[in-house]
């Protein structure tokens, strides 16, 4: 099993969610995060006041999938989240040791 972490632009959340739902992924965890990559923060000056936008607001999505689905999920996310402009985000894939459903105690792929 793998965990897929995707950092995407906030306004793309609905699109990605729908695209994942369409391919059969029903559950995910979302957090509001801030960050920057090569996009970096920038400084705006308006009417003499400096506005420094250091960390850009992004959305982080965490999804657990069976290892066989990883490539498909990555592709789906990219398709839905891409704008072609800088700041589109990144996707990370991590290994998962165990998954447990609290209510029933089920483990493994069944519990995803």
């Amino acid at each position: 099993m793998k965990k897929i972490e995707a950092i995407i632009k906030p306004f793309k959340l609905d699109d990605v969610k729908e695209a994942l739902n369409d391919m059969g992924i029903k559950g995910m965890t979302i957090s509001e995060v801030k960050g920057y990559g090569r996009q970096k923060g920038h400084k705006e000056i308006y009417r003499g006041a400096e506005y420094i936008v250091d960390f850009i607001p992004k959305v982080k999505m965490e999804i657990i999938v069976d290892a066989s689905q990883v490539d498909e999920v990555i592709e789906t996310i990219i398709q839905a989240a891409k704008t072609g402009k800088i700041g589109d985000g990144k996707i990370f894939v991590l290994p998962v040791d165990e998954v447990v459903r609290v209510r029933t105690g089920e483990k493994g792929v069944e519990a995803i």
């Binding site: 632009k9 906030p10 306004f11 793309k12 609905d14 509001e32 995060v33 801030k34 705006e44 308006y46 009417r47 003499g48 006041a49 506005y51 936008v53 960390f55 850009i56 607001p57 704008t83 402009k85 700041g87």
Partner: protein, 854 residues
């Protein structure tokens, strides 16, 4: 008290207690009566136990404390019991305690038990505030009255006589502590009906204080002593009873001692109290509104009471004379006083003047003045609501240094909803979700608080605003449309406008207010859901908002609204997105060419204004259907010109084509009006080209009934004078061409041949461009043509479009020096946007060819 069929003695043993209570409940015994029954039941049982153990008469007393002492036992309340004993009878203590307490423990009841001598009681009272206060409710159940009397005497001497100020200070200290723990407002999402503001502790504090300070035992005596008016007493008792009922049911529903109206329980309780879902309001929202109103009653009444007590104890009442601020109003000891409350009847303008003075001096209103205002609200009539003087003062209050506290006072006294009845609909209106912490009315006033803070925090943005009073007014009214189902922003805008008219705002101020309320959700929705890199979209935002002042107001309103909603609504993350959107739009606004007329009037504001102006100018305006004219059309001409168009259009019933012309400073204006038909524009441009006219600018519109209005700015390509131009011939040819009886094509080729056959090798200095955009407009495809200007170019472009079966609905022709930028809003011959990529390409090629045409 009516006797019910089930009396305590019908049930033996404590085990039957639960059944007894349930039985009463089924019989419909509720509220205070149920509490009393429960208490009586326990009394009866304890008396029996006491008798059984038969101790020495003077040595022991069973005393009830706290809630039990007040005979208020809730279904799952603790039983606060104390066994008072004379130390001389210590040996009998054990057996008594066992007989009394063990059975209680066995049935699993929560028994707070203490076994003390009178001296031990006094010692403990010295250390523990809560016990000290619980002693106020001490009640002898059974046993030695002498022993009990001894204790109460000692207590009175130590803590009541001559200790009034200390007691009051303790009460107030506790109150502050509770406020910081449970919240300052009655309007929190999950009110704690015991410890929260406006809850039972508030009631108890008031009763205890009245007892200690004035020797008054209950609420009725407070009324007799003049501390509570009859009206206040009635409302207070009603509120108290309501809360008791809720607390009873809450205990049953939770199955344990629970004093907080958790979210999960609210729906169930609402149902139990008979509230059903209506179209505009959920049952639970209606129910919670009742709860909040009652808690607010309790909170306000106790606030006023404590202020009164403080004053009495400080002995300030009669001392100094107040400083006169104006006739009938003075300030004394840092409080604004109404000299004589009867004056509110004769001079109702005093209502607003009081609040105005409070805002101006920064001093709060005296509690008696606040009570007077509440009591005399019925003297506020429509005359007061429409009064210009009141309006002026109200707006000045909004702009004062600290408007929030004054507006809170206005809300608490009921003045705000009397003066602005539109707010009455959202009074105490709860919004049933985990998102909103405050009721709507409280939220609106809280928004003012946030705007006050933003005024200090965002100085740079605030200085851009030319009419801050409108911003604050929008803050106060932005959710006034709630409580009617969906679409509260639009509804609120109409209501706000209504209020604005009464406040005597100018037209542009009304429009700004309307705009702010109507669009108060726009920025937050956009920031989270739209791509902030999308230039097209940002341009549209800039056009919609169109002024840096409006944008600044909308931005601050958005932040204030979010902060005043609840703790989860606003955070750094959202702030960053919103700031980004703000900066992007504001920089666009600064860079946009502001010389265009269209910038200064927004699609929503200006069109409405123009409609009104045109209405005024027309002789028979009611015959006119204003829906025919699009916003875009209305924004392109001054009202006089539109009125002229509409009047002229009547002639079209008799004539096929209307043609008029007049000279301007640098060009000539031509107006052509006729019924729409395919290829119309081509023919008009063709005729113009035949007469050697260069088209400098053109505005092409079609009314919804098919009437075409084309205004074209022209100049002579051959430097002909205005009078030298053969206008009559032009008019004739237009008629013929439009009716398809003129051979435009061959005439034009003949005429333009020398111009068209330029020597080879002369390239266009400017590369021609054709852009086809489907996203800029919702209804139409937008075709933009960039090219060098020449005679007949418009004819060629529009002819090409016509050949492709494209219909032109709107066009904007403009030229700068020798370049043209022509924008056409079109649809294909099926009436759809041009989306087929192959066709788009074909069209582009065709147009490029037509434009070059060398």
């Amino acid at each position: 008290m009516a006797q019910t069929a089930l009396e305590p003695k019908n049930y033996s043993g404590l085990q039957a207690r639960r059944q007894a209570l349930d039985a009463y409940w089924q019989q419909g015994v509720g509220g205070n009566a149920l509490l009393r029954k429960h208490s009586d039941f326990i009394d009866h049982h304890l008396a029996e136990s006491f008798k059984k153990s038969a101790p020495a008469a003077e040595g022991f007393a069973l005393v009830a404390l706290g809630g039990y002492g007040r005979q208020e036992l809730y279904p799952f309340s603790d039983i606060d019991l104390m066994i008072l004993y004379d130390p001389a009878h210590k040996d009998e203590l054990n057996s008594l305690v066992e007989t009394i307490l063990y059975p209680l423990w066995d049935t699993g009841l929560e028994v707070g038990h203490a076994v003390r001598t009178p001296d031990e009681c006094m010692a403990f009272a010295a250390e523990d505030f809560f016990f000290r206060v619980a002693m106020l409710d001490a009640r002898l159940l059974v046993g030695s009255a002498t022993l009990f009397g001894k204790l109460t005497e000692m207590y009175k001497k130590a803590y009541i006589e001559g200790r009034r100020q200390e007691f009051l200070d303790d009460m107030l200290k506790q109150r502050t502590k509770r406020e910081s723990q449970y919240g300052r407002h009655t309007y929190l999402l999950e009110p704690h009906i015991k410890e929260g503001c406006g809850g039972f502790r508030d009631i108890q504090s008031m009763v205890w204080t009245a007892h200690v300070v004035f020797g008054l035992k209950d609420l009725e005596s407070l009324n007799e002593a003049g501390l509570l008016s009859q009206e206040e007493l009635n409302r207070f008792e009603q509120a108290q009873d309501y809360l008791i009922r809720i607390r009873n049911r809450l205990h049953y529903v939770s199955g344990r001692k629970n004093d907080q109206l958790f979210f999960e329980h609210q729906k169930e309780l609402a149902q139990a109290f008979g509230f059903t879902n209506k179209e505009e309001l959920l049952g639970v929202e209606h129910f919670m509104r009742e709860v909040y109103t009652h808690m607010q009653t309790i909170s306000v009444t106790t606030d006023l009471f404590f202020e009164h007590v403080e004053e009495v104890l400080k002995g300030e009442e009669s001392s100094k004379k107040g400083k006169v601020l104006e006739p009938d109003i003075e300030v004394k000891h840092g409080r604004i006083h109404l000299v004589n409350s009867e004056h509110l009847k004769e001079k109702p303008k005093l209502f607003m003047r009081l609040f105005y003075q409070s805002a101006k001096t920064g001093k709060p209103l005296h509690f008696r003045t606040r009570k007077a205002i509440t009591a005399k609200l019925h003297h506020i009539d429509d005359k007061q609501r429409h009064s210009r003087r009141n309006a002026k003062l109200f707006l000045e209050i909004l702009l004062s240094a600290k408007p929030f506290s004054v507006l809170e006072d206005m809300l608490d006294t009921g003045f705000l909803t009397s003066y602005i009845p539109e707010l009455a609909k959202v009074e105490s209106l709860a919004q049933h979700d985990v998102y909103h912490v405050f009721t709507v009315d409280r939220h609106l006033v809280q928004t003012i608080n946030e705007l006050e803070k933003l005024r200090e925090e965002e100085v740079n943005i605030y200085t851009v605003i030319s009419s801050p009073h409108i911003l604050f007014l929008a803050g106060l009214l932005h959710d006034v449309g709630k409580g009617h189902g969906h679409g509260h922003a639009e509804r609120g805008a109409d209501l706000a406008r209504q209020v604005g008219v009464r406040l005597n705002l100018k037209t542009d101020e009304l429009d700004t207010l309307d705009f702010l309320v109507r669009n108060h959700l726009f920025l937050s929705h956009t920031a989270l859901r739209r791509d902030l890199e999308d230039e097209e979209f940002l341009m549209r935002c800039a056009t919609r908002i169109h002024s840096p002042g409006l944008l600044a107001m909308l931005y601050l309103l958005t932040i204030a609204d979010a902060r005043a909603t609840g703790p989860t609504v606003w955070n750094d993350w959202k702030a960053a997105l919103l700031l980004e959107l703000y900066l992007k739009i504001v920089l666009l606004l600064d860079r946009k060419d502001i010389s265009e007329q269209e910038q200064t009037r927004s699609a929503e504001l200006g069109a409405r204004w123009i409609r009104e102006k045109v209405y005024e100018l027309l002789p028979e305006p009611d015959d006119i259907d204003f829906d025919l004219y699009s916003d875009d059309y209305l924004l392109s001409f001054p009202p006089e010109v539109i009125a002229e168009h509409i009047t002229q259009a009547k002639k079209l019933k008799k004539q096929e084509v209307l043609f008029s012309h007049k000279p301007n400073k640098e060009s000539w204006s031509i107006l052509v009006m006729t019924k729409d038909r395919p290829g119309l524009l081509t023919r008009i441009f063709g005729v113009l080209a035949l007469h050697n006219l260069n088209v400098l600018a053109a505005k092409i519109f079609t009314w919804a009934d098919g009437t075409v209005v084309d205004t074209i700015e022209v100049s002579s390509a051959i430097s002909e004078s205005y009078d030298g131009q053969d206008w009559t011939a032009m008019g004739n040819e237009l008629h013929l061409a439009i009716q398809q009886r003129l051979g435009l094509e061959f005439r034009l080729s003949r005429k333009l041949a020398p111009l068209r056959n330029k020597p080879q090798g002369v390239q266009q200095r400017l590369a021609a461009k054709v852009k086809i955009d489907n996203r800029a407009s919702e209804l139409y495809s937008v075709i933009e043509v960039f090219s060098e200007d020449r005679i007949g170019i418009l004819y060629d472009i529009t002819k090409t479009l016509s050949d492709f079966g494209i219909s032109i609905y709107r066009a904007r022709i403009s030229s700068k020096a020798d370049q043209i930028v022509d924008v056409f809003y079109v649809l294909d011959h099926d009436g759809k946007k041009i989306e087929d990529p192959a066709f788009t390409n074909e069209l582009q090629q065709g147009l490029l060819y037509a434009v070059k045409n060398v």
